[in-house]
C-alpha cells in the first residue's frame, strides 16, 4: 500500500506545503498538478531528455525521477516559473529571447534551468570567465566534467541555445 506524505518545500522563495497519498509520486507531478508550475515539463519520465529540470537545494535535478519522499523537508525548489518574468526576465531568459533560442520551446526549461545550476557551480568554484561554446555543448550533451545528463532538443535550435547560454554566462560569471 502506498504511504502518504506531507512535505513543506521552499518553492521559488515561498513556503508551500503539499500532501500526496503516495510518497513515491515524482516531484514533477507535484509541481505541475499541485503547485501550479508550468516550467518543468513531462518529456520522458526516465531522466533522458531534461524537460523536467528543476534546482533542488541548488542542485540540477530531473524532477521526473525524484520521488517526493527523497525531497528533504524544507528543501528549496527553484523552477523556471520563479526564475524571472516577462517584465523582469533572468539574464538566461533574456539571452534566450535575444538569441531567439526556441521554436516550440518545450525543451528550453531544461536548458535554462540546467544552465542556471551549472553556471552557479562554475561561479562557486571560482570561475570568472564564460565557458566556451564547445564546453556548453559538452555540458548539454552530458559530456562535461561532473555532468552525465543529456538534454534533447528536437526542433534543431541547438546552436542558438548554445549561443544564448554563452551570452548569459558572460554576464553572470564576469
Amino acid at each position: 500500500m502506498p504511504t502518504s506524505l506531507t512535505r513543506t518545500v521552499n518553492l521559488n522563495g515561498e513556503r508551500r506545503r503539499v500532501t500526496v497519498p503516495d510518497d513515491a509520486e515524482q516531484l514533477l507531478y507535484v509541481l505541475r498538478n499541485q503547485l501550479g508550475q508550468r516550467g518543468p515539463k513531462f518529456g520522458c519520465g526516465v531522466s533522458q531528455c531534461g524537460a523536467c529540470t528543476v534546482l533542488l537545494d541548488g542542485q540540477i535535478r530531473r524532477s521526473c525521477v525524484t520521488p517526493l519522499r527523497t525531497v528533504p523537508e524544507g528543501a528549496s525548489v527553484e523552477t523556471l516559473d520563479g526564475l524571472g518574468s516577462g517584465k523582469r526576465p533572468h539574464p538566461l531568459q533574456q539571452a534566450f529571447i535575444d538569441e531567439q533560442a526556441g521554436q516550440c520551446a518545450y525543451c528550453v526549461n531544461g536548458m535554462i534551468m540546467g544552465a542556471v545550476g551549472w553556471l552557479r557551480q562554475l561561479k562557486a568554484s571560482g570561475r570568472t570567465t564564460a565557458p566556451s561554446e564547445s564546453e556548453i555543448a559538452a555540458f548539454l550533451s552530458g559530456e562535461a566534467p561532473g555532468s552525465t545528463q543529456n538534454y534533447i532538443c528536437r526542433c534543431g535550435t541547438h546552436l542558438r541555445v548554445i549561443r544564448a547560454i554563452h551570452r548569459a554566462a558572460e554576464e553572470l560569471l564576469s
Partner: protein, 776 residues
C-alpha cells in the same frame, strides 16, 4: 469591388472593421458570399471564411492555420502590419477553433506562409482601403490626398491627422477581401523582410505561456491508456487480482475497456500512471495477432511484389531502356531508409470534456483541447467515433511540443474523448514517452532502385523505382483513422492509389534528362481486400508499422536516393558533382542556389583522407523552394563514426518575410536532417516498436531512438536568396531534403565508400569501409 455584409455575432459593437478572406481563390469567396445573399452563417461551422478584425485598440487574425512552433504567427503578423501601414504592435492570433475560426485544412506541407500569406495580405489591404475611405469622409477630401504612417492618416500638405482608432470609433464594417485592393509593393515593405523577434518566445522562456499540457478545466480527472502487447494484438482479459490492486490505489476511479481500447481514469495523474502500470495496477492479457514483417528483412520485403497492391508509372520521358543500352557508362544502385519517428519532445496530450447531454445554448456536447494540425478533420472523426453529430463536437487547438508532421496528436484526442465519454467527466491524458515512441504513426521505410547512364559528362538515362508504404494517414472523418477507432473495431483509411506528392514527393527530379522514368510500387501496410485492393480487410491486420506524414514525407528518402545516385553517375562518368547538377538544370533559380555554393566547393577538402565534402540539391515538391546544400564530414576510419563539420545552405523560397525565422527553420531542418541521417531508426519486433525511449538503459535494453546531441551539431551557414518580387514559399521542410545525400556524398569523397542505407551508423560505415579495404 467591396461587398458589405451583415455583421457576424463575434463582431460585437461599433468600432470594428472585419474582413473575411479564404485560402481558396478570392473570386470563389465573393461568389459564395453573393450567392448567400450577403449573409454569413454565424456558426462558422460551415467554415469557409477567415477573418481579420480591426478594433479600436487591436488587430486580430482568426485563422484556421495554427502555430506549430515554427513562427508562422510572427510572419503572418508582419504581412498584416505592412498592409495596414502599421510599424508596431502585436496582432492577436485566434487559431484552430472549430467554433470561431474557419476550416483552412491541415497546417502542413510548408503551406501556411505560401498559401495563407497572400490571402491575408489581400484582406489587410482591403481593410486599409476601407480606412482610407473612412478618412476621406472624415476630412471631406479625396483619398488621393491622404497618406498613412503607423496608424495615422494625414492629409498631405496639411496638419490634419487622424488615428485608426478614431476612424473605427465611427465604423461598423464587415467586408470581403477585395482581390483588386492595391497591396504594398516590395519597395514599401517596412516590416516584411525584417527579422522581427518571435511573438511567442518571451512567454515560453518565462513559463508564462501555457501549452496544451498546461490546460486545466474544472472537475478534470486524469486518464492513461494501456496499449496492446502488439500492433495487431487483441484484448483477452484483465487479471482479477490486478483489478483489485488498482482499485486500492488512492484516487483510482475506473477502468475503461471498449474492444481493444483499454484505459484508466483517476483523480490524479500519478494515480492514473500507477493504475495503468502492470507492476502497480492493471494487468491486461492480450492475444497476439499477425506478426509484422521482420525489420531485418525490410529492404527485401519492401521490394517484394507480394507486398505491393499497386504499381504506377509516374514519370515517363523518352526511351530509358534504349538510352541505357547506348550510354557510355551505366550505373545501378539500391537505397534504403528505415522507419523514423516524429518523436516530439513533449508526449502528445489532450483534454476532453464529453457530456451526457448537449449544452442547451450552443449544442456542444464534447469539447476537446488538442494539438491537431487539422481541427476540423479531427472534429468529424471524433463525432463519428463518439456517435455525436458534428456540430456537437468543439475542437480547440492548443500548442504542444513541435510535431514535424502527423504524430499522435489526433490519436490522443480520441483516447481522451473515449475515456471522458465513458466516465462522464473531463479527462486530461498525456501519453507516456513509451506510448509516444511506441504508438505514434511513423514516417515510412522506403526502398529505391536506380539505374542511369552518362555519356560525355551528361546524364542520358535515368530510372527511379521507389517502393513505399503510405505517408498519409491523417484523420479523415472515419473513426479508424485514429488509434482509438482502430482499437474499437473501425477500419483504417484506404491506402493511396499513387505515390504522387506523398510517398512520391521529390521522387521525380527537376533535372532535364532526355530519358527519365519513375515507377512506384505501393506497399501494402495492412491486409487488403484482395491482391490489388487498397481497401483494408480488417482493423488490426498490419504487415508494417502504421505510417503517415513525417517532415517532407517521401521527399527525404527520395532525395537521398536521387542526389546520391546522381553523384554515383558523376563519379562513373568523370563529371564534377556540382557542375553536373548545374549543367543538368535549365531553371535559373535552381542554378543560382547551386552556384551560391561555388566558392565553398572550389575550396573544399581534397578528400580521400577521411575528410571530404558533398553537395545535394532539392526543389521542394519539385515546384517550390530551391535548396542547395554543401556538407563537410570527417570519417573516423577506425570506428566508422561520421562527424559533420560544416554545413552551407543556399535557399531561395521567394520573398523573405522574416529572414531570421527562415534561417531558424533551415537550421532546424539541417540539424533534424543530420540526426535522421546518422542516428534515427525505429526498431521493432514481430509485435511492435521496441525503441520506446531515447537511450538504451537497463529498463529498455536494446537499441532505442537516439537523436543528435548538442556536441554533434556543426556550424551552419545560410545564404538566403531573397526575391521580393516573387511569391513567398514555405521554408519549414525544403532544407531537410538534401541533407542525407549531401552527407553521403561527402562520405564518399572522404573515403571512397558509398553508403546507401540510413542511418549511417558507425557500425554500418565501418563495415562498408572494411569491405573496400579488408583488414589483414
Amino acid at each position: 469591388m467591396t461587398l458589405e455584409l451583415s455583421r457576424r455575432r463575434f463582431v460585437a459593437g461599433a468600432g470594428t472593421l472585419a474582413v473575411a478572406f479564404h485560402l481558396a481563390p478570392l473570386d470563389a469567396v465573393a461568389a459564395t458570399v453573393a450567392a448567400d445573399g450577403l449573409r454569413i452563417d454565424e456558426s462558422a461551422d460551415d467554415g469557409s471564411l477567415a477573418w481579420l478584425l480591426l478594433e479600436e485598440d487591436r488587430v486580430t487574425i482568426h485563422s484556421g492555420k495554427v502555430e506549430l512552433g515554427t513562427g508562422v504567427q510572427t510572419a503572418l503578423t508582419q504581412i498584416v502590419l505592412d498592409e495596414l501601414h502599421l510599424r508596431h504592435g502585436r496582432v492577436g492570433y485566434v487559431q484552430g477553433d472549430t467554433r470561431v475560426t474557419p476550416d483552412q485544412g491541415t497546417t502542413a506541407g510548408s503551406k501556411t506562409i505560401q498559401n495563407g500569406g497572400p490571402e491575408l495580405r489581400q484582406a489587410a489591404a482591403t481593410a486599409f482601403q476601407a480606412l482610407l475611405g473612412l478618412a476621406a469622409a472624415y476630412f471631406q477630401v479625396d483619398r488621393s490626398q491622404l497618406q498613412a504612417d503607423d496608424g495615422v492618416i494625414s492629409v498631405v500638405g496639411t496638419s490634419l491627422r487622424v488615428g485608426y482608432a478614431r476612424l473605427l470609433d465611427h465604423a461598423e464594417l464587415v467586408l470581403v477581401a477585395d482581390p483588386a485592393a492595391p497591396v504594398a509593393t516590395p519597395g514599401e515593405y517596412q516590416v516584411v523582410g525584417r527579422s522581427v523577434p518571435r511573438a511567442d518566445l518571451p512567454g515560453k522562456v518565462t513559463a508564462e505561456f501555457g501549452y496544451l499540457q498546461d490546460v486545466r478545466v474544472p472537475g478534470m480527472v486524469h486518464g492513461r491508456v494501456i496499449r496492446p502487447s502488439g500492433r495487431n494484438a487483441t484484448f483477452a482479459s484483465i487479471t482479477p487480482e490486478s483489478m483489485a490492486r488498482a482499485r486500492a490505489i488512492p484516487g483510482f476511479l475506473s477502468v475503461v475497456q471498449r474492444g481493444n481500447f483499454v484505459g484508466v481514469v483517476a483523480t490524479s495523474e500519478w494515480a492514473a500512471i500507477q493504475a495503468a502500470a502492470p507492476a502497480t495496477g492493471i494487468e491486461v492479457v492480450w492475444t497476439d495477432g499477425q506478426p509484422l514483417v521482420a525489420q531485418a528483412s525490410l529492404p527485401e520485403a519492401l521490394r517484394d511484389p507480394a507486398q505491393h497492391y499497386r504499381t504506377t508509372q509516374e514519370v515517363s520521358v523518352g526511351d530509358v531502356d534504349a538510352a541505357l543500352v547506348t550510354a557510355d557508362t551505366t550505373v545501378q544502385a539500391g537505397y534504403f531508409t528505415p522507419f523514423q519517428m516524429h518523436a516530439a519532445m513533449g508526449p502528445t496530450c489532450a483534454v476532453a470534456d464529453v457530456r451526457r447531454t448537449p449544452d442547451r445554448k450552443t449544442g456542444v456536447q464534447a469539447t476537446v483541447w488538442a494539438c491537431s494540425q487539422a481541427v476540423f478533420a479531427l472534429r468529424e472523426t471524433l463525432a463519428n467515433l463518439l456517435g455525436l453529430p458534428e456540430p456537437a463536437v468543439h475542437v480547440i487547438y492548443e500548442e504542444s511540443a513541435g510535431c514535424y508532421g502527423h504524430n499522435g496528436a489526433d490519436d490522443v484526442a480520441a483516447d481522451a474523448a473515449l475515456l471522458s465519454q465513458t466516465v462522464g467527466k473531463p479527462v486530461r491524458l498525456q501519453w507516456s514517452r513509451q506510448h509516444e515512441h511506441g504508438w505514434e504513426p511513423l514516417g515510412a521505410a522506403m526502398a529505391h532502385d536506380l539505374r542511369g547512364g552518362i555519356t560525355d559528362g551528361a546524364v542520358v538515362a535515368w530510372e527511379h523505382v521507389v517502393c513505399t508504404p503510405t505517408h498519409g494517414s491523417r484523420p479523415n472523418g472515419s473513426p479508424g483513422t485514429v488509434l482509438a477507432g482502430l482499437l474499437t473495431g473501425s477500419l483504417p483509411a484506404n491506402l493511396p492509389t499513387a505515390a504522387g506528392n506523398s510517398g512520391g514527393r521529390n521522387a521525380p527530379v527537376n533535372y532535364v534528362f532526355p530519358n527519365d522514368r519513375l515507377i512506384a510500387h505501393l506497399v501494402r501496410s495492412f491486409e487488403t481486400a484482395g491482391p490489388t485492393s487498397n481497401v483494408p480487410a480488417a482493423p488490426l491486420r498490419y504487415r508494417f508499422p502504421r505510417t503517415t506524414a513525417l517532415r517532407s514525407l517521401g521527399g527525404f528518402s527520395n532525395t537521398f536516393a536521387n542526389e546520391s545516385f546522381l553523384d554515383e553517375l558523376a563519379a562513373a562518368g568523370g563529371a564534377d558533382p556540382l557542375e553536373l547538377r548545374i549543367a543538368s538544370h535549365e531553371d535559373p533559380r535552381a542554378i543560382a542556389v547551386l552556384e551560391a555554393l561555388g566558392d565553398a566547393w572550389a575550396n573544399r577538402p581534397a578528400g580521400g583522407d577521411g575528410t571530404g565534402a558533398g553537395v545535394a540539391f532539392a526543389r521542394y515538391e519539385t515546384e517550390y523552394s530551391y535548396v542547395a546544400t554543401y556538407v563537410e564530414v570527417t570519417v573516423d576510419q577506425s570506428t566508422g563514426a561520421i562527424r559533420v563539420g560544416r554545413v552551407l545552405v543556399a535557399h531561395d523560397s521567394g520573398l523573405v518575410i522574416n529572414p531570421d525565422g527562415i534561417r531558424h527553420q533551415i537550421e532546424g531542418c539541417v540539424i533534424q536532417g543530420i540526426s535522421r541521417t546518422l542516428k534515427e531508426e525505429v526498431h521493432y519486433d514481430d509485435r511492435g516498436v521496441t525503441s520506446v525511449v531515447w537511450q538504451s538503459s537497463p529498463f529498455n535494453p536494446g537499441p532505442q531512438y537516439e537523436v543528435l546531441r548538442f556536441s554533434d551539431v556543426p556550424a551552419i551557414e545560410v545564404t538566403l536568396i531573397d526575391r521580393p518580387d516573387q511569391p513567398a514559399w514555405g521554408a519549414g521542410e525544403p532544407a531537410i531534403e538534401p541533407i542525407p545525400a549531401a552527407i553521403g556524398n561527402a562520405v564518399f569523397a572522404a573515403t571512397g565508400v558509398r553508403i546507401r542505407t540510413l542511418p549511417m551508423t558507425p557500425a554500418r560505415v565501418l563495415s562498408a569501409l572494411q569491405e573496400v579495404q579488408p583488414r589483414r
